[in-house]
């Protein structure tokens, strides 16, 4: 292999293409041979060849990059396998799983943080997305421009560069967001009250969730004791463990454009006649939204909820960029995937990391199944 990294990957890519084409022909010929043995017509044989020939890249990739790794990681999850340690790998049974589920503080923290994002972050995100979708659904000039503006954050979203810009804006002392909050607070007393009320509610709830994490509620008591925030208080976005999760929620709300598009599609699918009939009957827009649009949108809300929750388990970039170097507060915002990365690649404990991967996988499957089961209970597919 050439030493030059660019040449190296070009050669590897070329060899990969050769390998894929060869395996496509191989799989195609085998399939055609089997079809021939089973007495298929020449046309059918030709189709069998073509089908396997074209699908081969996925089939081969599925075996190499999904089935085999999953199999190995399942096996390793029951061992104490470590890369770069001379020790022999031994079978430890379910010990890894036991440790993770019952003794591992980091894993527990990641679970609770996901719970926070699901209970507090997702409703905010879905609410804003729905609000924007309803506004955009009014069919007016320039709708496309607004749509683009609201979707752009999804594209930029988790790019390191953009996250660093957020870090600049969220700076407690000199960041623009707190600057604006400060000047609005001085200018309008009602805003000051609102700001302090929001800070209070947020800190109490965050302290409660941190309490769930550690099992000790000292912080919650401290926040309650401190009482209603002082007049000059501002949010401590990337500085305090009480605020780290809220910063992530802020990023989620900023990137609500994808959910908004889903809601727009949902609103588009609502028959016009329903609204027209209700209008004739004298229903107010407010009533029409809650009695017609909202029930018909529940499948879309449900869809966004599932996707959002699975997404919350996988948040990585914001935590890495905003908090990685601030070790004491990382655990207050860590996601399951971040924890998996941290655990697997700091000490290369492959066995332990594999067990975490399997737990994440099973959790995602359970969430999907449960939510699909529950959807029958509260999702309205039609109201005729």
């Amino acid at each position: 292999m050439p030493q030059n990294p660019y040449l190296n990957v070009l050669v590897t890519a070329a060899l990969t293409v050769v390998f894929i084409v060869a395996s496509s022909y191989g799989l195609g010929y085998i399939a055609r041979f089997i079809a021939k043995l089973s007495g298929a017509s020449p046309k059918k044989q030709e189709n069998t060849f073509a089908g396997y020939f074209f699908a081969a890249p996925w089939i081969v990739g599925f075996l190499i990059f999904v089935v085999v790794p999953l199999g190995f990681s399942l096996y390793w999850s029951f061992t104490n396998y470590r890369i770069a340690s001379g020790e022999p790998t031994t079978w430890v049974g379910i010990q890894n799983y036991q440790t993770i589920l019952f003794e591992d503080d980091g894993f527990r923290a990641s679970l609770i943080n996901t719970l926070y994002l699901t209970v507090i972050g997702l409703p905010l995100q879905i609410g804003v997305a729905l609000f924007l979708a309803v506004l955009l659904n009014q069919k007016m000039q320039g709708e496309r421009v607004f749509r683009m503006a609201f979707y752009l954050p999804v594209i930029l979203g988790f790019n390191t560069a953009v996250l660093l810009c957020w870090r600049l804006m969220l700076n407690t002392g000199t960041g623009i967001i707190n600057q604006i909050i400060r000047s609005l607070s001085t200018a309008f007393p009602p805003f000051n009250w609102l700001n302090r009320a929001v800070i209070y509610i947020q800190e109490v709830s965050a302290a409660f969730f941190l309490g769930l994490n550690t099992g000790k509620y000292n912080l919650l008591l401290k926040v309650l004791e401190a009482g209603f925030p002082a007049e000059n208080r501002v949010p401590l976005w990337v500085q305090s463990p009480l605020w780290t999760k809220m910063s992530v929620v802020l990023l989620m709300v900023w990137g609500c454009g994808a959910m908004m598009l889903i809601f727009l599609a949902g609103l588009n699918n609502i028959p016009k006649e329903l609204h027209e009939a209700a209008e004739v009957d004298g229903a107010t827009p407010w009533q029409r939204f809650w009695k017609i649009s909202f029930p018909l949108l529940t499948p879309y809300i449900f869809y966004n909820l599932v996707v959002g929750m699975i997404g919350a388990l996988q948040i990585f970039e914001p935590i890495f960029v905003l908090y990685r170097d601030n070790q004491p507060i990382v655990s207050s915002t860590i996601s399951m995937v971040y924890y998996l990365w941290q655990k697997s690649f700091s000490h290369f404990e492959i066995g332990y990391g594999s067990a975490i991967s399997w737990i994440v996988l099973v959790i995602i499957l359970i969430v999907t199944v449960i939510q699909f089961r529950l959807q029958d209970r509260w999702v309205t597919y039609d109201i005729y």
Binding site: F54, W58, F65, G173, I364
Partner: protein
Amino acid sequence: MKKYFPMIKSIVLYTVLTGATVLMSFPLFWMISSSLKTVEETNSPGVVWIPQNPTLEAYTAIFQNQDFLRSYFNSVFYVTLALAGTLISIAAVAYAFSRVDWPGRNVVFFLMLSTMMIPAQALIVPQYVFFNKLDWIGTFNPLIIPGYFAGGAAMIFLLRQSMSQIPKELDESAFVDGVNHIQIWWEIILPLVKAPMATIATFLFVGLWNSLLTPLMYLQTVDLYTLPVYVSTLYNINQTVQPWPTIMTAAVLTTAPLIVVFFFAQRYILESVVVSGLKG
């Protein structure tokens, strides 16, 4: 009063929407504005909306920063290489699932859809071991090669939907003329799905360009860093004063390709997000 109601309504509507647009695009504005400031201005306790004397100092400096330029080249290089292979293999697999009738198709298709539930991150640990065995750590290979095996079930699904809508008669008449499957795929079907291909290319581009986790795991030395990894090293907790104009200049240059691509592809994207999102 009643006759003014629609007008008031649309004024309120536009005001709210414009306000939301300003809020949503504010980070971009702030990024550009900060890149033109001096270090003192970005760290000052007072608000500097637009720098008094915009300076391009950070830009001239970053164009002389070899590490930054190299990481930019690395990103362009790896994204191009990965995109080409991924796109072609996805097009091939989507063809098999939509235009060819073969035994086992439904089973394989169902398997493919079910992989959408497997989070990519659940595979990072065993894949790391696998690439380690191949001696691929510290090369671009792990970021590029997996995509060549039609990486991305959602994308295959999206393209399959578009290909299924092309009338069957088109390739049947070609068969009569003695044209084979590879020619039909490349010369007849692919030209007809240019728009969905552009959409998929955009999604793949955005994903690859923003990707942080895998480059972080596999590219161990500065000379291989892609943009997201390199840019993340610009912020250094050990410094008391962060070089924000430099960081924001790097940020502007990193996001520029994303914005350009989004601008040209937005029409397709905004429509297909809904299709793939709902039916996937």
